[in-house]
């Protein structure tokens, strides 16, 4: 099931000629992509292609040049807190869970800006609906959970902030296939409900099952935009990688 309900109009998030570097090393040499309401787009590519850098640059976590437009207006550079406040939220690679804290405390941090108790409860209910398993584990120390459960907490924590765009950096990393399937299904559901999702994945076949569009990143550049419905076989995909 691909999630591709975008209506024509301004995309929610648009990236134009985005470049990013770490010191002297140019890790991202120019990326253009967009995502709209009801779309899940995938960013594919081999190790070291710059996938994580792309997401970090969108958030403003790197030194970058180029433009990131959110709802038509430009996001300031190097301002991750500002981007998060506007609703651009990243689930970082390796999950970025706060290990010594309980699941509950992790989730509360996702809604750090919310002070109203009733609103907080509403958001909790929403996350429990997405990941019923989390609800049973609230008092558990997050660091003691399995990788899959931690990833659910990471996505749940991001959802607590009620994002307008969700960026995910390899949510399948180190997870068993079944849990990965469960998490990706939930992401598909979120996108189908209207949330724009940018999913960075190394496991291309998984991502292509959900994605409306896939961008192929290689050596810091987006080298192809793929329509998953046109990719019929592994071989065909491999051609994109090696072309």
């Amino acid at each position: 099931m691909t999630v591709c309900l975008a209506q024509p109009g301004t995309p929610v998030l648009e990236v134009l000629g985005l470049r990013a570097r770490y010191g002297h090393i140019q890790a991202l040499k120019g990326a253009d992509l967009k995502v709209g309401k009801g779309e899940l787009v995938a960013v594919l590519g081999p190790n070291g292609a710059g996938k994580s850098t792309l997401l970090r640059a969108i958030m403003g976590l790197t030194q970058n040049e180029g433009e990131v437009r959110f709802m038509g207006t430009r996001l300031p550079r190097r301002d991750p807190v500002g981007a998060a406040a506007k609703g651009v939220v990243l689930v970082p690679e390796g999950r970025g869970i706060f290990g010594p804290m309980t699941v509950l405390e992790n989730l509360e941090l996702g809604a750090y800006r919310v002070r109203d108790k009733a609103e907080m409860q509403r958001r909790f209910a929403r996350v429990f609906d997405l990941f019923p398993r989390i609800k049973e584990r609230l008092a558990q120390v997050a660091g003691s959970m399995s990788g899959g459960e931690q990833q659910m907490v990471a996505v749940g924590r991001a959802m607590m902030s009620e994002p307008k765009v969700l960026l995910l950096d390899e949510p399948s990393l180190g997870l068993a296939p079944r849990v990965t399937g469960e998490i990706l299904e939930t992401l598909g559901r979120l996108a189908a409900e209207g949330l724009p999702v940018i999913l960075v994945e190394q496991k291309a076949p998984l991502a292509l099952k959900l994605a409306c569009r896939a961008y192929l990143l290689s050596l810091g550049r987006i080298v192809a935009t793929i329509d998953p419905r046109e990719v019929k076989s592994h071989d065909e995909l491999a051609q994109y990688y090696f072309a």
């Binding site: 807190v81 406040a85 706060f98 804290m101 309980t102 750090y112 902030s161």
Partner: protein, 319 residues
Amino acid sequence: MAVRSGVIGSRAASIGVWVASAAIVGYALVFGGYLSTIVAFALIYAIFVSGLNVFMGLTAQVSFGQSAFAAIGGYSSAVLTTTYGWAPLPAMLCGLVAALVAAFLIGFPTLRLKGHYLAMATLAIGLIVYEIAVEWEGVTQGYMGISGIPPLGIGSLEATSDQQILLTLSVLTVLVAIAMSRIRQSRLGRAFAAVAGSEEAASALGVNVARYKLVSFLLAAGLASISGSLFVHVVGYVSPEVFGLHMVVLAFTMIYIGGLGTVAGPIIGALIVSLLPELFRGLSESQDLAYGLTLIVILIYAPKGLVGLARTFDMWRSQ
């Protein structure tokens, strides 16, 4: 949400840490004498280390320069009460404001640094303030130091006897401990913990990392300044050596022996580390050896400090 445990949560053995701390202070209160002087210094350190604990334990930053803020507090109190005849409390508040201003000016640019850079920058601050205390003789009287500092007191109420001093310091330490436990469980504490966990993840969630690091640094500096003021009033004398690098080393020992990031840790750590040398005094020549060995043994068998040891014991018993 009713569920609240994990990081917090205290049980039998953990409560034992508090009982032990109270027993040490109680013993000193009753029997007085030399021991009460040691315990008084330990409690002053407990306040200093509690502040350092906010920055190092809760926020996971490193500062080697907290002695600078103790010096600012201590010298403000000393100079204002002796040269200008101020009462202790306004002098202490003045020192606190000065320390906070200094911490802000230092913290604002340096807290953008990470890891070793920040540690080096703070080390420099400690050395600079020490040099100022030595060289600015017109005000600080250099190595000679300032003597004749009046005892702690408000109006006509003065803490002059050992018991009065100890009681005052105990009350202050308890207040600091209550504040620490409140902070840990507050929004602020949660933000500190997020910064400690991962600066990048925290900022991606909208937590303003630079701001909370600064707040944490200011809290640590404030408590350092207060402890510096308390010290000079209790001793009645101040010289640059008081706030030298050994203060930082001692504070680090206390925080790790007690338990980094815990409320009781700085207090039990300060008490134990202060009392150990006295315990071994009878060994004369091998005193330092015994002291060092004990510290190493504690850190090997209780790497998370005495509070961590108590928690492990609780968990082991509840299984």
